[in-house]
């Protein structure tokens, strides 16, 4: 268990290091960062001073070391546009993003797992087909198209729900549905497949033969075993879907979260904010993945003891 934890942590650190390096290389590849900081009309002498100030006259290797040192010292720089520390700007966006993410994940789990079980148990009847068709639609509809439809119907035609910001609980409804839709489709598919694998197992027949009621058989013997597979998917798929989805959803609904910040920074070419924001989200996703990996090992007794190769 401990060696697995260490290995996961090491892999996470390595991946993060690679990402930081890629970010550095990308920004330097695109030309001198000075061209973004200062506009035109700068004299040659001033330019030389600025170049020395930002230490751009040094070799790339030294610049890279300086970049890493500043990063690990917690000096993440100022926003080009707002002239505030980027760490502050990202920090104040964390909580709204987290709120939206929690509500979307909660809705996803509440809807997707029961529907996935129904789709597996009733796979031969029209109920199962209908559920799967619904999942398919959730996969095929881009979330910004879904958002546009929802806004047209519920905000503009019916005038029931607010669209902009995160002021009241009612503001949560449309962004949550939009963000959850793709996650529901993914989790539902995997729940169904995991349940289908489990339903054919011998222990299920044994449980039925003991005379247990069907509900107990499916929920206790079936779902518990399928749950391990579902958990791993919820982690990997959902973390990625949520990160990409948040960018779009927050931008559409003017939700004051990190996704909205990132899109605006990208459009206005506010590199320090973009850099730090992307690294923060990447780190968050890595952490979630590592936590899921760990939970996966903890739930599955086969992995708990032998260091974790059995499940691979």
């Amino acid at each position: 268990m401990l060696s697995r934890l260490l290995r996961t942590a090491f892999r996470m650190l390595l991946t993060f290091f690679v990402i930081v390096t890629l970010v550095f290389i990308t920004t330097r590849l695109s030309g001198s960062p000075l061209d973004f900081v200062i506009g035109e009309g700068m004299s040659v002498e001033d330019r030389a001073i600025m170049i020395r100030y930002y230490e751009l006259d040094r070799s790339l290797g030294e610049q890279y070391r300086a970049f890493l040192r500043a990063f690990f010292d917690g000096e993440f720089g100022l926003s080009f546009i707002e002239r505030r520390p980027v760490a502050d700007m990202v920090a104040e966006r964390l909580w709204p993003s987290a709120q939206l993410l929690f509500s979307a994940t909660a809705v996803t789990l509440l809807v997707a797992i029961p529907l996935g079980i129904i789709a597996a148990v009733q796979r031969k009847s029209w109920v199962g087909s209908a559920v799967m068709a619904f999942a398919f639609l959730g996969y095929a509809v881009p979330n910004f198209v879904l958002a546009v439809f929802l806004v047209l119907v519920f905000a503009f035609s019916l005038n029931w729900l607010p669209v902009v910001g995160n002021g009241t609980p009612a503001h949560f409804i449309l962004p949550t549905i939009t963000l959850a839709a793709a996650m529901i489709a993914a989790v539902m598919r995997f729940t169904r497949n995991a349940m289908l694998d489990v339903l054919g197992q011998d222990y299920m027949r044994t449980a039925r033969a003991k005379g247990l009621p069907e509900d107990t058989v499916i929920l206790k013997h079936g779902l518990r075993n399928a749950g391990i597979t579902i958990l791993s998917v919820v982690g990997l798929q959902v973390a990625a879907l949520a990160a990409s989805g948040s960018v779009v959803v927050e931008s559409i609904f003017a939700w004051p979260g990190i996704g909205d910040l990132l899109v605006n920074a990208a459009i206005r070419r506010d590199y320090p904010v973009l850099q730090f924001g992307v690294l923060t989200v990447a780190l968050a996703v890595l952490f979630i993945n590592a936590a899921i990996d760990f939970a996966y090992a903890w739930v599955d007794p086969r992995l708990r003891h032998d260091g974790g190769e059995a499940g691979k």
Binding site: S30, Y139, A140, V148, L236, A243
Partner: protein
């Protein structure tokens, strides 16, 4: 339409049609007509996609009050014909997606076969890159790259190509490793074939079917990514029409002129829906385990 099955058996269009259920037939007809519409966009469109006409701004589609004859789907905020823009947008979206998916196939395919055939340290490095790519949500990478390098067409194609390479790399590595165990490869090696020859002549022809399936699946992901980026204003820059950008710009006019958003949004839906169904279909055919489930 290429019709490759898991066993390498080729079926005619008629054979495909007769085994398809209703949804798959709809998807097939829909995707063929969408591709035709995209190819013949210059002929079908009645107007230049960027020609403005300020007298006829924000006109609704034909059949609604205030519509102008000749503008079947109405006009947008600058008086441009919506149908023409949709057609041109569709063709650009499909072209970008096809280019991106092909680029991803070339990058990922090469690295995947290399990893599978060469093994050892090369394999470890390539798979570490794959793991890193999987760990980071690609929308973020795309945002970053487009913002740093600008949203020119070549950059967009590169971003879309990088989006899916790791899937090809994984699939082809697995297939490559599996094939390397088989006797006919060993025979080729014993006969003195070079690693390059083994990769090109013996491995590549045997991985066509999973690659076709993955190509279709990744096509729909790439279309989604492209329209999302355009929607956010980071894709192809105005006034050039892509479907995602039309939805993005039209957002501001939603309360008064919903058709500006609805027409391209429905078109995107039709594209992603039919491509996904086709991809799913091909995967079912290729995956023997799923037959009869």
């Amino acid at each position: 339409m290429t019709t490759v099955t898991g066993t390498g058996k080729y079926l005619g269009v008629r054979g495909l049609w007769s085994e398809a259920d209703l949804i798959r037939r709809v998807a097939l007809v829909l995707s063929v007509s969408l591709v035709l519409a995209a190819i013949f966009a210059p002929i079908l469109a009645g107007y230049e996609p960027n020609a403005q006409s300020l007298i006829s701004r924000l006109r609704p589609p034909l059949g609604f009050e205030g519509a102008r004859p000749g503008y079947y789907l109405g006009t947008d905020e600058l008086g441009r014909d919506l149908l023409s823009r949709c057609l041109y947008g569709l063709s650009l979206t499909l072209m970008l997606a096809a280019l991106g998916a092909t680029l991803g196939l070339v990058i990922g395919g090469t690295l995947g076969v290399l990893a599978g055939v060469a093994g050892g340290r090369i394999d470890a490095v390539i798979m570490a890159a794959v793991d890193t790519q999987i760990a980071v949500p690609f929308t973020l990478v795309a945002l970053f790259m487009l913002s740093v390098f600008g949203s020119s067409m070549p950059i967009i194609v590169v971003v879309l190509g990088v989006a899916g390479w790791e899937q090809y790399a994984r699939i082809l590595r697995g297939e490559g490793m599996r094939l390397m165990q088989l006797p006919f490869i060993e025979a080729a090696r014993a006969a003195g074939a070079s690693p390059q020859r083994i990769a090109l002549v013996h491995v590549l022809p045997n991985v066509v079917s999973p690659v076709v399936v993955q190509f279709t699946l990744s096509l729909s992901n790439i279309i989604l990514l492209e329209s999302t980026l355009s929607f956010l204003g980071l894709g192809v820059q105005p006034p050039t029409a892509t479907l995602g950008a039309m939805v993005g710009v039209g957002r501001d006019y939603m309360p008064t002129a919903p058709w500006i958003v609805l027409a391209p949004a429905l078109l995107i839906l039709a594209v992603t829906f039919s491509v996904q169904i086709l991809g799913d279909w091909l995967r079912d055919r290729a995956d023997v385990r799923l037959r009869g489930r």
